[in-house]
């Protein structure tokens, strides 16, 4: 069976005038439709680089990415990419920022606006529609960026540290909500995170990356029992503790613990 996303032999070299840096080396991964994958790895191991390559923003030095058998060569509306920083447009209000994708695609109408409002409200941003980004906290802005990305319901969603700037309670709530939305629309997702517990709680598979150059070190399958549970409930399951232990040891053995 053909995979939904195929990452084939991706290597990437950053070339600057004086230096070259091998950021990624021979990354291979096949992702099934509806799957949730997490990339876990130390800072600077090339996670953001890999996401940019998958979303077609960055051309890899070697290798290719295919979405439903078609090679990704430029950004497309089918791939949503939430960046590590929010990059909201300061001259647009929160609601305008949130439905920017629809505006660009020419699909913005009253029902979409209503839908975006509901998404914002669900993310605890119900009373800031008309505010401007600089009036919001970092965590709030991050949520707006998340809404902006998933509002257009891309087939593949790339989330670069989507829940990093949040307090623990909000983070857990958002993980739950995001997972529901992603499942409801059958979106395939890749999450980059430093938090291995978050990775386990949300994913079907956790991909552990190696530092310098970035390489896949190990892939952990999350047991089916955990996948069925909400991220919050999953954390209380005994199997969660076992897998955490396993990943924690792997991280430590590598000398690359990040959480």
């Amino acid at each position: 069976m053909m995979s939904f996303v195929t990452i084939e032999n991706i290597s990437h070299v950053y070339i600057k005038q004086a230096t070259t840096l091998l950021a990624l080396e021979e990354i291979n991964l096949a992702i099934q439709q509806g799957e949730f994958i997490s990339f876990l790895g130390p800072s600077g191991c090339g996670k953001s680089t890999l996401l940019s390559i998958i979303s077609g923003l960055l051309k890899p030095t070697f290798g290719s990415v295919k979405l439903e058998g078609e090679r990704v060569v430029k950004p497309s509306k089918h791939i949503g990419h939430m960046f590590q920083q929010d990059f909201l447009l300061p001259w647009k209000t929160i609601e305008e920022n949130s439905w920017l994708g629809h505006k660009i695609m020419g699909t913005l109408d009253a029902s979409i606006k209503e839908e975006v409002h509901q998404l914002l409200a669900a993310m605890g941003l119900g009373d800031v529609y008309k505010k401007y980004p600089h009036e919001l906290s970092g965590g709030m802005r991050q949520r707006v960026a998340l809404v902006r990305t998933i509002a257009v319901k891309p087939k593949l969603v790339l989330l670069d540290e989507a829940f990093s700037a949040l307090d623990v309670v909000t983070k857990l709530q958002l993980e739950n909500m995001t997972q529901h939305i992603l499942e409801k629309h059958q979106m395939t997702s890749i999450l980059v995170t430093h938090d291995f517990q978050e990775a386990i709680a949300m994913s079907d598979r956790v991909v552990l990356l190696h530092h310098n150059p970035g390489r896949i070190r190990k892939i952990f399958e999350v047991p089916i029992e955990l996948r069925r549970l909400d991220p919050v409930d999953a954390r209380n399951h005994y199997m969660f503790t076992e897998l955490s232990q396993e990943i924690w040891e792997a991280l430590n053995r590598d000398g690359t613990a990040t959480a």
Partner: protein, 268 residues
């Protein structure tokens, strides 16, 4: 702290700021009044040559006279119209050329040295050529106003276009946005503050272009009054024209300042 205490603190702070503002305004007015008084005194006591420097009372009298016979109004409105047209069109053309350069990196790299050279040239020196090209008309004068601010606007705005955060452009790209959408959704709005500060600079520049244009065409306008005043040795007229220009330039500058405050509020 109690709400009441906070309110008291806030009021005290406000009062202090208000007092400071009043002191500054008062000092500014004193300098103006004192300056005018000193000028008058110096001219009357012949510390300075009254023929050359005129004196405030004479200028005021001349203003009254010229205002009543309606001639001053004509000259004022002509120059004002030319200046506004010159600086608005100059800025508009500048932004348009900058847009073309942004659109075509090839064009921008080809034109780069020419723009720099052209910018370094004393543009008023091209005045006579423009008069020959367009004739001694108002069009020539406006063209001077445009010429003097268009290149610098192009350079400044184009530099602003290039400084736009590439990550914001990437956001548009991830939604499959095209080049026109990059421009309208990010590049242009991000550069609005720079365009407005270009407007500010251009107000001053356009006055220079237009006044020089009126020197050359020598038909009507405040520039014409200045050159005419020099020719007939009537320096009161020269001074009057300069003061009017200064007042108009200040008003236009203030208007742009208000526009800036209004528009740039959320553009950080």
């Amino acid at each position: 702290m109690e709400q009441q205490q906070l309110n008291t603190l806030q009021r005290a702070q406000k009062r202090k700021q208000q007092r400071e503002r009043q002191v500054i305004l008062l000092t500014q007015i004193s300098i103006l009044v004192g300056g005018i008084g000193l000028w008058e005194l110096a001219a009357r006591l012949a510390w300075i040559d009254p023929l050359l420097f005129s004196m405030p009372s004479k200028i005021a009298l001349l203003f009254w006279e010229k205002w009543n016979d309606g001639s001053l109004w004509i000259h004022m409105s002509v120059t004002l119209y030319e200046t506004i047209a010159g600086f608005l069109l100059g800025t508009l053309f500048g932004v348009m050329i900058a847009t073309m350069l942004w659109w075509s990196p090839f064009l921008s790299r080809v034109l780069d040295p020419y723009l720099v050279i052209f910018n370094a040239m004393p543009k008023v020196a091209l005045g006579p050529m423009i008069i020959v090209a367009f004739g001694p008309t108002q069009t020539s004068i406006i063209a001077m106003g445009i010429l003097i601010c268009v290149i610098i606007t192009t350079l400044v705005v184009y530099a602003g276009f290039k400084e736009v955060d590439v990550n914001k452009l990437k956001v548009i790209q991830t939604f499959g946005g095209n080049k026109l959408q990059l421009y309208t959704q990010v590049v242009l709005p991000a550069t609005v503050p720079i365009i407005i500060s270009a407007l500010k600079v251009n107000v001053g520049l356009a006055w220079v272009g237009v006044i020089v244009g009126e020197f050359l065409v020598s038909k009507e306008g405040l520039g014409y009054l200045i050159i005419y005043g020099f020719q007939v040795f009537q320096f009161t007229l020269v001074m009057l024209s300069m003061i009017i220009i200064a007042i108009f330039a200040t008003i236009m500058y203030q208007l742009i300042y208000i526009l800036e405050k209004y528009v740039v509020k959320n553009n950080k």
